[in-house]
């Protein structure tokens, strides 16, 4: 991993101590939130899948910390980190996983489908790489409407092998679309290592090259580096209306989903421990902030405690929230019927 000191790059030097603490706090909140969710999941209180982001927090927090009013975000099913980073509340997110009416998607989407369009966050998508053309489209719209923004579209290292991603790269380059594809390379797609799923020479981001797209590889354990390199891509998107592919090296501590009991078979416990010990993005940042004199051990503990309490409270909120009812099944299918428009009154929209 790189030796450059990204703390001194302008985008990081411009950070106030308060803002640094904020970024640190966001990462901690994501971790505590997910730890609480994992507990609830283990207790059988949630349905479906639970894909934890723990270990990757610097990616969502670092990249999204750069976003302005017209920057938009879209990701895959491993979406809790991005959701909290864009400013969604723990309550609505936890309630969503609990399948409750007060969930961000009213209990209709679940863990994989968090959305907050009011915060420029467009999900949460379950089909591997299915979000990559959507991200292209969000950025197309920004350009079409003359907005000074870009779209950050996240995908996994396994997702690069879906055709839709390549179609998107070609169009992004050809049309000059301000989209940044962020490959969150955690080394594995389910139980398959990068070596077993992808053919490559240097890295995955290099696939961008033949499409005449700029690319870079980023050490994800250092949020400063994440910010510094993402900023370059965002500038390129906004000033030149050009796409970028960033490959951010990161790691997930848990299995692919919480149901993945195999995850110590396809990788060694030592590998996991090594990452935790030496590259954990929260620890790395905490140490830096302490060295910088921005953070103290006590303050750090306080932040952890507050996040923990917030997470516990969100579990309580979620547990107590009402479940959807049978009539709720039939809403949010069509905009026109939900809004009871003239159009919605003509013909049968639903069948039995």
């Amino acid at each position: 991993m790189s030796d450059l000191n990204f703390a001194t790059s302008p985008i990081n030097q411009s950070l106030t101590p308060e803002r640094k603490i904020e970024l640190f706090t966001q990462m901690v909140r994501i971790r505590r939130f997910e730890q609480a969710a994992a507990k609830s999941y283990a207790a059988g209180e949630m349905g479906g899948f639970l894909h934890l982001y723990i270990g990757q927090e610097s990616v969502a927090v670092g990249t999204i910390s750069l976003g302005g009013a017209d920057d938009h975000y879209i990701t895959a099913y491993r979406d809790h980190g991005h959701a909290l980073a864009v400013g969604m509340g723990m309550n609505e997110c936890m309630a969503e996983m609990y399948g409750k009416q007060t969930g961000c998607s009213k209990g209709k989407g679940g863990s994989m489908h968090f959305f907050a369009p009011d915060k420029n966050f467009w999900g949460g998508h379950g089909i591997v790489a299915g979000q990559t053309p959507l991200g292209l489209g969000l950025a197309f719209a920004l350009k079409y409407q003359g907005k000074d923004g870009c779209c950050l579209c996240y995908l996994g290292d396994g997702a690069v092998n879906q055709g839709a991603f390549h179609e998107s790269l070609n169009i992004a380059s050809l049309f000059g679309i301000p989209v940044i594809y962020v490959i969150e390379n955690n080394g594995y797609s389910m139980g398959t290592s990068q070596e077993r799923s992808s053919a490559y020479t240097g890295c995955l981001a290099q696939r961008a090259e033949a499409y005449a797209i700029e690319w870079d590889v980023v050490n994800g354990s250092d949020i400063y580096e994440v910010r510094a390199k993402t900023q370059i891509a965002m500038d390129r998107a906004k000033k030149e209306s050009k796409p970028t592919v960033l490959e951010i090296d990161t790691y997930r501590y848990y299995g692919h989903s919480v149901a993945d009991a195999n995850h110590k078979k396809y990788r060694t416990p030592e590998e996991i421990q090594n990452y935790k010990d030496n590259y954990d993005p929260i620890n790395v940042f905490r140490r830096k902030l302490i060295d910088e004199g921005v953070l103290t051990e006590e303050k750090s503990d306080e932040i952890g405690k507050a996040a923990q309490e917030e997470a516990v409270a969100s579990v309580k909120f979620a547990k107590e929230a009402p479940a959807p009812t049978i009539p709720d099944i039939s809403t949010d299918v069509y905009w026109e019927t939900d809004n009871n428009t003239e159009a919605s009154k003509i013909g049968h929209h639903f069948f039995a």
């Binding site: 938009h72 879209i74 969930g103 961000c104 998607s105 009213k106 209990g107 209709k108 989407g109 489908h113 959305f115 907050a116 369009p117 467009w122 999900g123 949460g124 998508h125 089909i127 299915g130 990559t132 053309p133 959507l134 991200g135 292209l136 489209g137 969000l138 950025a139 197309f140 719209a141 920004l142 079409y144 409407q145 055709g163 839709a164 179609e167 998107s168 070609n170 169009i171 050809l174 049309f175 809403t331 949010d332 299918v333 069509y334 905009w335 026109e336 939900d338 809004n339 428009t341 003239e342 159009a343 003509i346 013909g347 049968h348 929209h349 639903f350 069948f351």
Partner: protein
């Protein structure tokens, strides 16, 4: 009234909506500089320029998905599939992203997108280019589907589709593009045909022929022969819109004639007609004097040979023969 071709009617609809709403953008393979593989978009690029009429690479998953993403932010893409058959390479975007994103977000998003193009057999282009996917897409809640048979319906439904705030898939027909018909003059006001409204294209009392798309024209031709040669007075109901579906109009014609022949260019397993058949027997069981019958495409992939493809498809002869077994 003035007449237009079906192709011109579609083009006029798009042109009017391009003028009406700056968020409307036409996209697809060869729609701009080439004027469209079937010339539906002819002249629109010249008139509206690069921003509003956009040529795309041969990447249906990529560009349809791009349109869906853009629609979430308020752009209103009208996307051509050169053939609707090419849905097969964009299926995920069409049935997951367009159809489900509103639901999965608990109603926070919607996708005002139109996907259009020809969806028909009969032009000797073989199995992969001759899919008839109205029923396939209507099966997905969240999607809307329509299939105009005449120039007027083509214009009116296309305008409704573009203004609709949900994804609407408009299934056109290469064989109809050159057909002419009366279409109201724009000077006489905005001409929109709402989705979900069927149209009795011919009144009759002895048997109901229910169809959509080009099959409607086959039904009308068959009805003339049935009348002239057999004294049978067939009613022809054009569904026009598949989802929303005008179930009331369907039940009304059944209550009038008590005999139903469904004509559907789809393959027989499923299709729109299987659904309409089920609805009729469920809701009008006592109105039926005999079983509902169908004329569908003969159950095989689309054959190429021009000597025989029209026999595989519904056609007036097959409709007449089937109708004669029923009354």
């Amino acid at each position: 009234m003035r007449t237009l071709t079906y192709r011109e009617a579609l083009r006029e609809a798009m042109d009017e909506e391009l003028a009406r709403d700056e968020n409307v953008v036409i996209m697809g393979e060869e729609v701009a500089q080439y004027n469209g593989a079937y010339k539906v978009t002819q002249g629109l690029w010249d008139k509206w320029g690069d921003k509003r009429v956009v040529d795309t690479p041969i990447s249906e998953a990529g560009f349809i998905g791009m349109g869906i993403g853009a629609s979430m932010l308020g752009v209103r893409p009208v996307m051509e599939l050169m053939f609707w058959s090419f849905h097969s390479v964009a299926f995920d975007q069409l049935v997951n992203n367009a159809a489900c994103v509103r639901y999965m977000s608990g109603g926070l998003c919607h996708c005002p997108i139109v996907v259009r193009g020809p969806a028909n057999g009969g032009t000797n282009v073989g199995a992969t280019h001759s899919h008839i996917p109205e029923g396939l897409f209507a099966a997905f809640p969240g999607l809307k589907v329509c299939s105009p048979a005449t120039p007027a319906d083509a214009k009116g439904l296309m305008k409704a589709a573009i203004r609709d705030n949900d994804p609407v898939y408009v299934m056109e027909n290469t064989i109809l593009y050159g057909n002419t018909g009366e279409v109201p003059d724009p000077a006489d006001g905005d001409f929109v045909i709402p989705l979900g409204k069927a149209d009795i294209k011919r009144e009759g009392k002895d048997i109901s022929l229910i169809a959509h798309g080009r099959s409607v024209l086959h039904c009308l031709e068959a009805a003339e022969t049935l009348k002239a040669e057999h004294g049978i007075d067939a009613e022809v109901l054009d569904l026009r819109s598949i989802r929303p579906l005008d179930v009331d109009a369907i039940l009304a014609t059944v209550a009038k004639t008590h005999r139903v022949l469904l004509v559907d260019e789809s393959k027989p397993f499923g299709g729109v007609s299987a659904m309409v058949s089920h609805l009729i027997q469920e809701h009008a069981f006592d109105e039926l004097d005999g079983p509902i019958k169908r004329v569908c495409t003969i159950d095989a992939p689309a054959i190429y040979s021009k000597y025989i493809e029209n026999e595989q498809l519904p056609n007036p002869r097959r409709i007449i023969e089937k109708a004669l077994t029923m009354v």
